[in-house]
C-alpha cells in the first residue's frame, strides 16, 4: 500500500483528526485493502482469488497476524467478539454456540468460508463460530454486506473468510502452545511446518476441554441464589493439514484437510431447577484441492472441496434414564467445485469468468427422507483500475433444484484522490439467500415452495490515513454509512388450519447504520502503542406489514450501539493487551417489550506477556484476565456469561530443527 509522509507541521485536517482521536480516547481501524494484483505475466503466488480481487469497493477488514496471534488459543467467535466488526450472540463460556450478527442481521445472513468454500450449516444456514479455532486460519477477511454476485447465498450481513496460506520464507518450525485457566479450562496446540522452495507442508492440531462450571446469580430462580453452571462442559479436538506444491512460477497445487470433533453439554436456561441432561456432538470433515495456473495474460484456478457434517443432539429427562427423550441425528455432505478464468486485457482492465457446481446430500431424522440437491452458478466480473480509481462490476446467475434467485449484480468504485491517503468508496449490490434444508424439508412444516430471500445493500464510505513522519506513527479513520433491505425474509409462523409452524416468505427488514473505525500507532524508542476502536450504530427495522404489532421494531438481539477497543502496549520484551467492549441494550422479543430488554454491559479483558528467546527456541508466557471487572451480563437472555476468569498461556517455537531440506 502506498502512503504519503507528511513532514513538519500537520495540515489543518490532520490536526483536527488528531484532536478528535485524542478526545475520543480510543480508536479502531480497518484496513482498506487495496489491490495487490499483478497485471501482466503474474506469478502464481500473487493471484488473488475472485472475491479478494474484486473487493476494493467493499468494506473489508483484515485481521492482522498480531491480532490472530493474540487470540490464537480462542475460537473465531471469541476473536471476533473482541476484535471484529461483528456482534457475536454467545450463549455462554468458550465453546458455547457463537452466532454472528453482522449489521443487525441474524446469523444465517453471514457466510463463513474456508479457503473460498462456504461452511455454513446446510440445515440451519448459519455457522457456529465456536467450532472454528483461530489458530486454524492464517488470515481472516471480513467483508461487510458482501455481494451475492461474488459470494453467493446468504451475505446480507457479510462474509467471513478464513484462509490458509503458505509461508515460503519459514520452511521449518515446530510450535507448541499450552493454556490453562479457570473452570478446568485446558488447551494444548501443536503447529509444524516443513518444506523447501517448492513444497510446503503444515500440520496444526489442538485439544481443548473445559468444565465451564462458573458461578452466577440466578435472578430467575426462587431466592435468586448463586448457582454453579451445570452440564456445561466441552471437549474439542481438531487437526488440519495443508500442502502446497509450487510446480513452477506459473503453477501451484494446494490441498487441505480439516477434521474436528466437539462434544458439548448443553446447559439449562436460567431459572430451571435441577440440571439439564442434554448433549450435542458435532463432527466435521472438510477437504479441498486447488490448482492455479497463470499464462501470459490470464490465470486459471480450479478447486474442489468435500464437506461432511455429523451432528447428534440428545437429551435425557433425568440422569438415570436409559432412553433419550430427544435423540436427533443429522448428516450432511456437500461437494463443491469452482472454476475461474481471469483475463488481463491491459494494465487497467481485467475480466473474470467463473462457474460453480455443488451437490448436496442430507440425511436428517426429522425430514423422514434422504435429500439430494444441486446448485450451479455462472459468474462474471469486470475491473477497471488506475492509480486513483478502481471500479468493479460483477454478475451471477444461480440455478438450483427449486426456485431460482434473480440475476445478481454489484457495482462499486474506490476513488483515491490523494494517492492512498484519502479514499472515497461507494458500493451497491443485490443479495439473495436460499431457504435452508430445514426450511424446506422439516416435518411437519417444511415448505418446498419457499422463494429465496432477496434484497440489496448500498454503502458510502470515506477514509483518511495520516502519517506523522516518525517511524511507525500513523492514524487512520474510516466512516461508513449503509442501508440494506431484505424482502421475502423467511420466518416460521403458526400454520393456519394446522397446529404446527411452517416457514413462509413474509418478512421485510431494513437495516441502516453508521460505522466508524479508527486506529492509531505510535512508537517512542522501544515503546510501541496501538489503539483500535470500532463503533457501530445499527438500526435493524422489522417492516413486515403482516405483523403490525411489530412494525418498525428493532430486530431481536440487535444492539443499537456497540463499541470495541483494543489497546496494545509493547516495551522491550513485555506486552500488554487490553480489550474494552461496550454493548448497548437489546430486545429479546419481537415486540421490543422493556420487560424483555437486556441491560447494556461493559467488559474488560487484560493480558500481560513476556517474550523470551533461547536459540533455537523462542516463545512467550502470558497471563490473562477475562472479564476483569467481574461483570454479570447476558448476551442471550437468561444464558449467564462467565465472570472473572484467569488464564496462563505458554507458547514455544523451534525453528531450523533440521538441516535444510
Amino acid at each position: 500500500m502506498r502512503s504519503v509522509t507528511i513532514p513538519g507541521r500537520l495540515p489543518r485536517l490532520g490536526r483536527l483528526i488528531v484532536l478528535v482521536v485524542i478526545l475520543s480516547g480510543s480508536l479502531p481501524v480497518k484496513g482498506q485493502q487495496f489491490s495487490q494484483k499483478v497485471h501482466q505475466v503474474p506469478q502464481v503466488q500473487v493471484i488473488a482469488n475472485r472475491n479478494d480481487y474484486y473487493n476494493q469497493d467493499q468494506k473489508i477488514m483484515v485481521l492482522d497476524t498480531t491480532t490472530l496471534a493474540q487470540y490464537s488459543t480462542d475460537n473465531l467467535g471469541e476473536l471476533l467478539s473482541k476484535a471484529g466488526p461483528i456482534f457475536i450472540r454467545s450463549y455462554g463460556a468458550q465453546g458455547s454456540v457463537s452466532a454472528p450478527s453482522f449489521r443487525g442481521t441474524p446469523a444465517q445472513h453471514t457466510s463463513v468460508t474456508w479457503n473460498g468454500f462456504p461452511i455454513n450449516s446446510m440445515t440451519l444456514g448459519q455457522c457456529d463460530l465456536s467450532l472454528s479455532p483461530a489458530s486454524f486460519t492464517d488470515q481472516v477477511t471480513i467483508t461487510h454486506s458482501a455481494p451475492s454476485s461474488l459470494y453467493g447465498s446468504g451475505t446480507f450481513g457479510g462474509a467471513i473468510a478464513m484462509e490458509n496460506q503458505p509461508d515460503w520464507d519459514q520452511r521449518q518450525s515446530l510450535g507448541i502452545t499450552a493454556k490453562m485457566g479457570s473452570w478446568n479450562n485446558q488447551r494444548y496446540g501443536l503447529q509444524t511446518r516443513l518444506g523447501n522452495a517448492k513444497f510446503h507442508y503444515r500440520l496444526k492440531g489442538f485439544y481443548q476441554k473445559a468444565q465451564n462450571n462458573y458461578e452466577y446469580r440466578d435472578y430467575q430462580q426462587f431466592g435468586q441464589p448463586v448457582r454453579e453452571r451445570k452440564n456445561n462442559a466441552v471437549q474439542n479436538v481438531g487437526v488440519m493439514q495443508n500442502v502446497y506444491y509450487q510446480h513452477s512460477t506459473r503453477s501451484r497445487l494446494e490441498a487441505g484437510v480439516w477434521f474436528q470433533n466437539r462434544n458439548k453439554e448443553v446447559p439449562d436456561i436460567m431459572g430451571a431447577s435441577g440440571q439439564s441432561h442434554a448433549q450435542q456432538k458435532d463432527s466435521t470433515l472438510r477437504a479441498y484441492a486447488s490448482w492455479k495456473r497463470t499464462f501470459d495474460h490470464s490465470a486459471l484456478q480450479v478447486k474442489s472441496g468435500f464437506f461432511y457434517h455429523y451432528q447428534l443432539y440428545k437429551e435425557k429427562e433425568s440422569a438415570g434414564d436409559q432412553n433419550y427423550m430427544i435423540h436427533s441425528p443429522l448428516e450432511t455432505q456437500k461437494w463443491m467445485n469452482d472454476l475461474n478464468y481471469r483475463y488481463y486485457l491491459n494494465q487497467q482492465i481485467t475480466f473474470d469468468a467463473g462457474f460453480q457446481y455443488s451437490n448436496i446430500r442430507a440425511d436428517v431424522k426429522a425430514y423422514n427422507r434422504h435429500i439430494g440437491e444441486y446448485r450451479m452458478s455462472a459468474i462474471g466480473a469486470f475491473q477497471y483500475e488506475t492509480d486513483q480509481l478502481t471500479a468493479n462490476v460483477s454478475l451471477r446467475q444461480q440455478f438450483n433444484s427449486y426456485t431460482q434467485p434473480a440475476p445478481q449484480y454489484s457495482i462499486g468504485v474506490n476513488y483515491r484522490p490523494w494517492d492512498d491517503q484519502l479514499f472515497i468508496r461507494g458500493h451497491f449490490s443485490t443479495k439473495y439467500r436460499l431457504p435452508t434444508l430445514n426450511d424446506k424439508y422439516w416435518q411437519p412444516g417444511g415448505n418446498k415452495d419457499l422463494k429465496p430471500e432477496h434484497g440489496w445493500s448500498g454503502e458510502m464510505a470515506a477514509g483518511y490515513t495520516l502519517e506523522y513522519g516518525a517511524p511507525g506513527a500513523q492514524s487512520t479513520i474510516e466512516v461508513t454509512a449503509y442501508q440494506s433491505n431484505i424482502h421475502d425474509m423467511i420466518e416460521w409462523i403458526p400454520k393456519e388450519g394446522a397446529s404446527f409452524w411452517h416457514p413462509v416468505n413474509t418478512s421485510k427488514v431494513r437495516t441502516t447504520g453508521l460505522e466508524v473505525s479508527m486506529k492509531h500507532r505510535f512508537q517512542l524508542e522501544r515503546l510501541q502503542m496501538s489503539l483500535s476502536s470500532i463503533y457501530h450504530y445499527t438500526r435493524a427495522m422489522n417492516l413486515n406489514k403482516d405483523q403490525p404489532q411489530f412494525y418498525r421494531n428493532q430486530l431481536r438481539y440487535t444492539p443499537y450501539h456497540n463499541l470495541k477497543n483494543i489497546l496494545r502496549l509493547s516495551f522491550k520484551h513485555y506486552q500488554m493487551n487490553t480489550s474494552l467492549r461496550y454493548t448497548g441494550i437489546r430486545y429479546a422479543g419481537l415486540d421490543n417489550a422493556t420487560s424483555n430488554m437486556l441491560d447494556d454491559y461493559f467488559v474488560v479483558d487484560l493480558g500481560l506477556s513476556r517474550n523470551f528467546k533461547f536459540t533455537p527456541m523462542k516463545g512467550s508466557l502470558k497471563f490473562q484476565v477475562k472479564n476483569l471487572l467481574d461483570r454479570q451480563y447476558q448476551v442471550i437472555a437468561n444464558y449467564p456469561m462467565p465472570g472473572q476468569a484467569f488464564y496462563i498461556h505458554l507458547n514455544i517455537q523451534f525453528n531450523q530443527l533440521f538441516k535444510q531440506i
Binding site: Y219, Q221, F222, M325, I326, N596, N638
Partner: protein
C-alpha cells in the same frame, strides 16, 4: 398509570384479604349448601410466555371493571419473571401453586400477596397441580419423550415435598376430582397416548384406566359427575392426522361416549374445554369455533357460538362469562370476553401465550 395499577393492586389485595376472611367464616356453610356460583374475587390469566425465554407471567384482572395488572408475579417478586412456560396456577388454602414447565419448578406463593415462599424443584416436566385434600396435592409430570410412562407426584402441602410417585400413562396433563377419585389425562407428552388414569385419593393409588381419544389434553366434570375429556387427535408427525373428539366418561361404570369433532382442530393450545357454573353445559373448541353443549345432549351442536379458535378456553363460574384466550406467540396475547349469551364484552391484552384463566 403506574399509580393507578398500584391502587388497583392494593384494592385487589384488600379484597383478597377480606375474601379470605369471609371464606373462612363461610366455608363450612358453603360446603353444606354446595354453592354453584362462588364469588370470584380475582381473575388470574396464566400466560405461558415465549418458548425459549423466561417471559411467563400472571395477569390479574378486576372481575368488575376488567382492569388488568400485567406481570403481577414479577411485581410482587422483586422483578423476577414467573418462569419459563408457565403452565398452571391453582390455589389451596392460603397458598397458590405456580407450575413452570420449562423451569421445572412449582413455586408456592402466598395467596394474599403472591410473594414466593418456597419452591419444589427436581422435576423434569411438570404440567398441572391440583389440591386433593387439605394437606395433599397432585402434580402431573413427565414428557415421556423416552417412551416411558409419566407420573403423578403426591405433594405434601405442609413441607412442599414429593411424598409419593404414582406411575400413570404417557405425558400426564390435566386432572379433575370426582369424590375420592382423580381422573388424569395422558396426553402423550412428546409421543402419544389415548388414556385417562383413575387415582384413588384416599389410598393414593392408581385404580383404573379408561381408553379415550388420541391425545387427551383437557378434562372437566358435569353436574351428574360425568367426566368430559377433550382429545386433540394425532398430528401428522404422530402418525395422524386423526379427528379430535370429546369423550364423556360415566364415572359409575367408566363407560365412554365419544363425540367426533369431524376433523383435527387447528388450535395449538391444550386447555380447550370448560364447564359453566351449574355444570350443566360444557364449552369446547371445535373445527370452526367455540361450541356450547348441554351435558344431556346426545349429539354435538351444529353451529359454534363463537367463531374463534382460541389457545385456551375458560368460563367464569360466577358470571358465566366465556373467556377465549388468543395467543400471538411472539407478542402479548388477548383474553376476549363474551357474555353467557355469546355477545362480545371486551378484549383484554394480557401476557404472552395465555393458556388458562383461574377464577378464585
Amino acid at each position: 398509570m403506574k399509580n393507578k395499577h398500584m391502587n388497583f393492586r392494593k384494592t385487589i389485595i384488600s379484597i383478597f384479604s377480606a375474601g379470605v376472611l369471609i371464606f373462612s367464616i363461610s366455608a363450612c356453610e358453603e360446603s353444606q349448601t354446595n354453592q354453584n356460583t362462588p364469588d370470584v374475587e380475582g381473575i388470574y390469566i396464566v400466560n405461558e410466555g415465549v418458548m425459549g425465554q423466561i417471559s411467563g407471567s400472571i395477569t390479574l384482572v378486576d372481575p368488575e371493571s376488567g382492569e388488568t395488572i400485567q406481570e403481577y408475579f414479577k411485581q410482587q417478586n422483586e422483578g423476577r419473571s414467573a418462569g419459563s412456560v408457565v403452565q398452571d396456577l391453582s390455589f389451596s388454602g392460603e397458598k397458590a401453586f405456580l407450575v413452570a414447565n420449562n423451569s421445572k419448578t412449582v413455586e408456592i406463593l402466598d395467596k394474599e400477596n403472591f410473594e414466593a415462599r418456597d419452591v419444589i424443584s427436581g422435576l423434569s416436566y411438570p404440567r398441572q397441580f391440583m389440591a386433593v385434600g387439605p394437606n395433599t396435592g397432585y402434580l402431573t409430570n413427565g414428557s415421556s419423550g423416552d417412551n416411558t410412562n409419566g407420573e403423578v407426584f403426591v405433594i405434601d402441602l405442609e413441607n412442599h415435598t414429593v411424598a409419593d410417585t404414582l406411575e400413570v400413562g404417557k405425558g400426564p396433563e390435566s386432572m379433575v376430582q370426582v369424590n375420592n377419585q382423580v381422573y388424569v389425562t395422558n396426553s402423550g407428552g412428546y409421543v402419544s397416548d389415548s388414556s385417562v388414569n383413575i387415582i384413588n385419593t384416599d389410598r393414593h393409588q392408581v385404580t383404573g384406566k379408561v381408553e379415550v381419544g388420541a391425545i387427551p389434553t383437557d378434562i372437566t366434570k358435569d353436574l351428574n359427575n360425568n367426566v368430559w375429556v377433550f382429545c386433540k387427535g394425532l398430528g401428522g408427525w404422530q402418525g395422524g392426522p386423526t379427528n379430535s373428539s370429546l369423550v364423556k366418561i360415566n364415572t359409575d361404570n367408566q363407560q365412554t361416549t365419544t363425540f367426533d369433532l369431524g376433523g383435527r382442530i387447528s388450535s395449538y393450545g391444550n386447555y380447550l374445554l370448560a364447564s359453566d357454573a351449574n355444570k350443566d353445559k360444557i364449552y369446547f373448541v371445535g373445527m370452526d369455533g367455540v361450541y356450547e353443549m348441554d351435558v344431556s345432549q346426545e349429539e354435538l351442536p351444529a353451529e359454534p357460538i363463537i367463531q374463534e379458535i382460541p389457545y385456551g378456553l375458560d368460563v367464569n363460574p360466577e358470571t358465566g362469562n366465556i373467556y377465549c384466550l388468543k395467543s400471538e406467540f411472539q407478542a402479548r396475547g388477548y383474553a376476549i370476553r363474551y357474555n353467557p349469551d355469546h355477545t362480545l364484552i371486551d378484549s383484554l391484552q394480557v401476557g404472552y401465550s395465555p393458556n388458562a384463566v383461574v377464577f378464585e
